[in-house]
Symmetry: C2
């Protein structure tokens, strides 16, 4: 039997009356999950470990992990105990808690490149701040970005032609293709003394496309080019952070960034983001006006301290990669046994996958829908995520679900060999 | 005896090593509190009701209320119980909780102008979104803003000449003076079909200046001008929201905004902001790409539901205004008895004050410092805030503190009559 979503649908109808699009953004049906709306739940009731339960009582092994924040497992007991202990003392108070200092010290101690840490709320708060720091430090305006990269929703991160975006919003952006050092070098030569910042994710994880790791010497060449030309090298580690390397994803790929943006995995779902930087940029960031009502709140800070300590203790990046490797190897094998060519790219702790038998993506979408309706929550065209609460039994159950889903799709498409 | 801050200072030294400026933003010593650093604490240990305790054990009656979020009193038992109940179920999950629908319904039911609600994290998330919605709805770019107004820290809200701000960031902003309808009318005439949005706070509450209420027919004339010219009227109610009127500050001043930005007082310190709008703008907001990792998190949503219900139950805006009136009337009287001319402006629930005896602001700063060192936490040049946990006894104690502080300053300045 496959899941049904009666209560979710009723709630979604209520939502649509008072919330634009019912559920908005990357969690919503329109843009985010890329799954047919009859295949997936709209509203959750509770979550624990690797699972969440929707309002109809369906249980999912959740491979989206709230689009990243779930790294240790939902409602991790240690992280939540630290958060609740702090909540009893105070959260958003006129003077910050000294826990903020403790967290900054821990991040400086943990992240290889970090001499300091600055805390905010959204990933986009710190990607925007990174560009501002680069501008303050260099007195330059232009920013080199990767086509198809995602750095949040601030207008400067969007594309001209999207609703509400003006020419001025994106006037200082210059785009290059991923892994094309030659293009970056050309831009730098053509704009002498004008490039403030090169910003990219540590590897390329766009939507709707296979994810791509950096070429062997890509980052080393970019690092040298930036250093030689006084350009700030900013890494958007919002999605990859602490899923590749507890010392930072620049460390994973063997280089040292000037600025690193963290968010999703640093507090296991409690609301915080961070910008880490080198001492050379401390005066620049100190000169920038940047703050927010909740940015120094102590509860997410206390949660983050516990989360990072635990990530280090269990070597979470290694564990998540190992679980992801096991899961994806199995899925590929099961797919093959039914005649499906499941292509897996990216780092296994946050892999991207697609069924390559057809270019239309329809087979892939059908398979993902059949998985979701049986309790394995994937999305179609976004990378998936592993959390550390995932068990071998969960992986086995996912194999069974995937196997059944492949069978259903194959029966529907007898042309597959 | 006045307070000392040994532990705060030691912690601040530690902080300065790993956090740019030690404490940044409006909570930091550099920009925010505008109080001599020997007069006020850097780090808090805990907070409850109208008070917080710093790391040296000093207790303050807190008139900054975390710069606004504390509206019911710190760690309000009802709000926190709702937050913790939800935390046990789930917070940041792949699918949102249906609590989000409940909160949107409650806001639509509460805020007079609201047909829908959209939730984010920072006040600045929703002021930026308001401008984007206006652009999407009108196909125009330009925005009319008030000189000295504050709408967050996104580059478009800042000034050319500030570090990191580019000409492009502010290219579409047009500034007018507060309460000058004639200036707005002139701008609209000079830019036919080009103004997307007029954005302002419901009354003018800049820093370093007396706050100003709108002239009698100011908002009615602005409303008509916007309607006649297809301009979206967006009110930044981040600071005033639910301190003037539970139905929204536009309602308080007798007009209806198209968009209203809420943040500080909607969840008593749990991290959430909201944009409310009219049905005419629902398609426009639905077209804009705007989302964030934590925006649909259920814990702040559950807290907000309980907070708004309680604000309505106790008629918080009325209570806060009445407490603020009593407090400030007393302070003015006590000041007068010592020869000080304490000028109070703005709405009493978030009044602004200054000692007008000298233009240098030095007497004012000295008096505020003496108040803080005795346990009444004011800041110098920003409006103050009332929370609903403040008692008559707190007000009496504040009178005593203010009286002593006036005496100290008078003794130091024998020229005062």
């Amino acid at each position: 039997m496959t899941f049904t979503y009666q209560k979710s649908l009723e709630m979604f109808k209520r939502a649509s009356k008072v919330i634009p699009t019912g559920i908005y953004g990357h969690l919503g049906p329109a843009e985010g999950c890329f799954i047919p709306s009859n295949a997936y739940p709209f509203f959750s009731e509770r979550a624990k470990g690797a699972y969440f339960w929707d309002v109809d009582g369906n249980k999912f092994i959740d491979y989206m992990c709230a689009y990243g924040p779930n790294i240790l497992g939902y409602n991790d007991e240690d992280v939540d105990a630290a958060a609740l202990k702090q909540a009893a003392l105070g959260n958003c108070v006129t003077s910050p808690s000294s826990k903020m200092v403790e967290l900054a010290e821990l991040m400086v101690d943990t992240v290889a490149m970090a001499d300091w840490a600055f805390f905010a709320k959204n990933g986009g708060d710190v990607t925007s701040l990174a560009v501002m720091v680069a501008r303050a430090a260099t007195g330059r305006k232009k920013v080199i970005l990767i086509k198809g990269g995602y750095h949040g929703v601030a207008p400067w991160t969007q594309k001209l032609g999207y609703p509400a975006i003006t020419e001025e919003d994106v006037a200082n952006n210059i785009y290059v293709d991923w892994n094309r050092y030659d293009q970056v070098e050309k831009i730098v030569k053509e704009n002498p003394g004008e490039i403030a910042c090169f910003m990219a994710t540590p590897y390329h994880h766009p939507v709707f496309e296979d994810n791509e790791l950096p070429k062997d010497d890509y980052w080393q060449k970019i690092r040298k080019l930036c250093t030689d030309n006084g350009i700030v090298l900013a890494i958007d580690d919002v999605r990859c952070g602490f899923r590749l390397d507890i010392e930072g994803s620049d460390h994973y790929f063997g280089f040292k960034a000037d600025l690193m943006c963290f968010c999703k995995a640093i507090a296991n779902g409690w609301n915080i983001s961070a910008l880490c930087g080198t001492d050379a940029l401390k005066d620049a960031i100190s000169s920038v006006m940047y703050t927010g009502s909740y940015w120094l709140s102590a509860v997410p800070i206390a949660a983050s301290i516990e989360c990072i300590k635990k990530l280090k203790k269990i070597d979470a990046p290694k564990l998540a990669q190992s679980l992801g490797k096991k899961l994806t190897d199995g899925l590929v094998k099961i797919g093959k046994s039914h005649g499906f060519d499941l292509v897996v790219t990216g780092v296994p702790s946050m892999w991207y996958m697609r069924i390559a038998n057809d270019d239309s993506m329809i087979l892939h979408q059908e398979w993902v829908a059949e998985c979701v309706k049986r309790g394995a929550f994937f999305v179609n065209h976004h990378n998936q995520f592993i959390n550390c609460a995932l068990t071998e039994d969960d992986i086995k159950l996912t194999y069974d679900i995937a196997d059944e889903a492949f069978k259903v799709v194959k029966n529907r498409h007898p042309e597959i060999e």
